[in-house]
Symmetry: D2
Subunit: 354 residues, 4 copies
């Protein structure tokens, strides 16, 4: 399996299956001399953790990160930073019914056909548990990017949208409700919707918006590694993501150039920011913002028709504890992936001038 | 500048500025023994070429591809395939007015700040002329992927959308009109809109939809190199792209799981295909389809306020010959980038089983 | 720190410091469906382990490998294979005297200057303990390369050399003595020499020869990744290695073409094999053989002049338990690195033809 | 064909066959703002060029480098620097006799078996003509490494060796004789030997020593990308190279630790330099020096037995114009590859500290 490494200079390589011994990863290329706040890393893990509230899965995972190398007396040494998260709550029997059956809109079928076998326990390598590794990597990246603020939040659940521009939101409110929506009125409606959906044994999709502020000019490598292209790849790597747009996004495709262009002001800022803080694949110092679409979780507490390995029709119903809506828990994951992208470009940008 | 190479096993590395001596690239990893149809490559170049019709830029570029290596007696040898496209129609004076002025919503400002200088002639490295290289690479990739059909087409211009599902379209009609929209009625309206916009000295955005058929199960490397994540990166690399969605895309984020799941049929196909042919980052054998949003071209034939290098307010007006709408010419570029992604995953998939 | 990953398709990424929590690594790209013999892996670890005999360091390290992912029911799944080796015998106090002093011909000085700090316990990341990770990776690679035989052995210690061509040696004798020299008479002399050197508190260098048999034609990627260039990089990565030669090696530089050329026979083999089984960077089916030079271990049980961090003259004497001669324990490391090189080229060779 | 790119941040990717249209390459990652002295690049090409003296091949190749991109008004822009060297003197008929016959100790057999076909004209991709590309890349790298001196020279031809340490040589004498040996007495003997060998229709091997001075502390990435491991890979990539040693090299393997260790002096230099300027894979500020072994050229002006594609015995005799001894022309190639290695590590070293 290729593609387990993200980044070129600041690199995260990960491993692990949902119900194996442990998951974990190696952060390579983190500069030496950086003081690491382990508690801040663990705090990010708590945000992603299952079982935090009534609207997310009640699975209990401790998700305690153990760092194994690369940090000495609390300071990075420049060596690879390895970490590990034990799988303490494996409950493999919850998943044995999946052994020979392909869950609809999951990765069971494709893994099986591609590799000839699969670790069927809880999705194995395709489980969203993998994203816990990304949160660790992102938490370290955030510490490298001291002055940059990355704020993601839930901007829609089903048909419920925040109807304000992000500039009118108070990001400090994001963590005050279970949905992670900084608009309190909308948050409450979203919470009710998710509870209702859950009761129906169903799930619902949503979107997350991410705003990155205080980025200096120059991050991003044009051509194939444009800043937004790597952000796009990063977001589309997250389980259940179906779309990515930045700046004006799909709306921009309806506009005229005279409406869309961002005119420069004498201080180098632009009057508008439909560019989303990125021009020619390089940050221009304005806010970077983008939106990520998540499909509804595929595991339903309802009967669904499907087939087994031999192509026989059968039925399946979700067991165990699953999220009725993935976006609240995906907020820290979006931030983590954004941080990984920026940390890599931050280092790459150190070598562009002779 | 990092990021001039796309792919891991089937790799395209490119170079060149809009008004330098030549642009070109090197295709590494193309297997030996493949018969190359040079005319088919050149035919793709004609589709991308400026000056094909009244609704695109009237710049004349010959865009003749010269292969320099890696092909012997018409067959690939396994060695790097280098190619080159001369810049025959440079007209540098058209661009001298850009030397000290930053065009709004272009890459002038960010390149200048990042690198400390820039090749200001026609956008230099940030010019969409670079995409001619991608079309060459994609044309070779298509020949490797013999049985896979990749069909892109214009699905919207401004507010004008094709209102049919792609299954009702006849892709053979795409090349019969200047807009490259397979729905003839909509195509005509789009053409009129673009002509009107052009007359106003303005530009307009649009979207391209791409459908990939006959892909076997197993392409894509899960985790960070999911098939759709690499497609997303590829599309977002294209100049002017603001968004990418596949399968149900942003609509999927409004749906419930019971509506969204694709139930398996006994032959391994699915009843619906909201997954867009990809599950867990791996192709499942169903049609892959995605949509790409392009902003309106930033160069306007109107006066715009901007600043010069020293931060003084000034004005700029597009000179030369520019596209009022980029999507018709971007259709072969979308196909080329899709082909590059698939060719790479096709090779990677050869080594997954022992 | 870049450079913690070896290989392109079959990749080993490692981490860990001598006296950290654990060392370990991730093997990415191992094909799915391979039955892994864990005991065989552990057996390789025993060969490298300290404390095996009187002529190697008496440090006790359990070196028990724990696999964390990528293997399900004893079969590889195609997912990354992570492993870990706990540092059970850390005895950090043995090394505290190194904190502010640079040991001669060690990496203390260069790490300190490069990174601004170092994990001074037992060499930290620069410790040869890292090679335990390589032996794990190599042991898995060997299982992928079923039919290929890789046999390394000690060919010289100090001035004592095996004076026979490798064809006259019985490789099954290599493991029958503590020096790992398949020529029993020379082995005995070497063992006596090492014991004498140890008693003097000194150390001695040596060479290892490696013979790889049953390699099919076609492994190696010409230009910068020639088979012997990657073997050279691999061997020169091993701690204390000062030189690498393959086939005729440095002797070949004294010869005439008419003596050196390997003439083809009608079955495609060559009459002689001064090429060392590699022509143009690609295996030709003949035996691959090469020789690796190891300097004497730098840690002496004698007083040596050196300096501290502030540039003051001081003295240092090795403490703890160190090897008087590194080559006996380096034999499995040479084999492991050779296996990693071959496994990578074995996979790369699967995609060269269309 | 993988492996056509060298380096990670300062990267050279090459293409081209001996008798194709052109050879060339792309230098990616060269920082912006570097003034490029094109004459200095061309001067390095003249050193490598065939036909310079009576002891090298009389083939005439113009080897004129044409830069296509990445340099604007003589300054690097940060964009990829593409270059091209036309094959003006192809004389393909000289090589037609090779079509179905495998030249002994050449790459004909292995290319044919690996790829299923080959460009048989002059060795195709395996031709040493490829090294002209490396000299271009190295010449640019040298300009980035302003203060570092890289001096390679011929240290032996056949059994004739310079018998002085390099410290006693005057490197400015290297270019004063045809052999490129800075010791004039030895140079004369070498020249006579090569002429004699040439008259016999034979060839002879030799070694090149390279000394790199004024390297600051900290270049090299430990573990798999040790400075000497990458230098080794670089040198072993050069056609006809059979061995590499640095510092004490193979002699070091005969020594005792008490003789071999380099004791630190209060200024951070070492009393001796058996380490060859590298400790733990990182430069320590002392001179870096290494030696490279070249086998005798395989093309002889004598009859040799061989086989054809169908395995039938036949004979072959070198035609065309070939070098009786490769080392004089390989001197600039060794320097170029060393420069590429150092340039890459120079950039990587800019990101090691936070």
């Amino acid at each position: 399996m290729a593609g387990n490494t993200f980044g070129s200079l600041f690199r995260l390589s990960t491993f692990g299956e949902s119900h194996g011994e442990a998951i974990g990863g190696v952060i390579e290329g983190c500069p030496a001399g950086l003081k690491i706040d382990i508690d801040a890393v663990q705090a990010e893990m708590q945000r992603r953790k299952p079982g935090q509230s009534k609207i997310v899965t009640q699975r209990k995972e401790e998700d305690e990160v153990l760092f194994l190398s690369g940090i000495f007396d609390g300071i990075t040494t420049g060596s690879p930073i390895a970490f590990q998260i034990k799988n303490t709550n494996q409950k493999s029997k919850d998943y044995s019914h999946n052994k020979d059956v392909f869950r609809p809109s999951h990765a069971d079928f494709t893994y099986d056909k591609k590799y000839g076998l699969r670790d069927y326990r809880g999705g194995g390598r395709s489980s969203a548990r993998e994203t816990a590794n990304w949160v660790v990597g992102g938490a370290v990246a955030k510490q490298l990017l001291k002055n940059i603020q990355i704020n993601a939040f839930v901007s829609s659940v089903g048909e419920l949208f925040i109807d304000k521009p992000y500039q009118e939101l108070d990001f400090s409110k994001t963590e005050t409700n279970d949905v992670r929506c900084p608009d309190e009125v909308t948050a409450k409606k979203m919470e009710q919707l998710i509870k209702k959906i859950k009761k129906e044994g169903d799930t619902v999709g949503g979107t997350i918006t991410c705003v990155i502020q205080n980025v200096h000019v120059g991050l991003g490598e044009p051509v194939f590694d444009k800043l937004h292209a790597r952000l796009g790849q990063a977001m589309l790597s997250i389980n259940a993501v179906k779309g990515f747009e930045y700046g004006s996004g799909f709306c921009g495709a309806r506009m005229k150039g005279s409406e869309h262009n961002d005119l420069f002001q004498e201080d180098g800022t632009t009057k508008t920011n439909l560019s989303g803080g990125i021009q020619g694949g390089i940050s221009n110092g304005m806010d970077i913002y983008f939106r990520v679409a998540f499909k509804p979780v595929a595991t339903l507490m309802q009967n669904q028709q499907t087939i087994d390995k031999d192509g026989n029709a059968t039925e399946i119903q979700g067991k165990g504890r699953h999220d009725p809506c993935v976006v609240p828990r995906a907020v820290p994951i979006v931030e983590a992936m954004a941080a990984l992208v920026l940390a890599d470009f931050y280092l790459l940008n150190k070598v562009v001038r002779s």
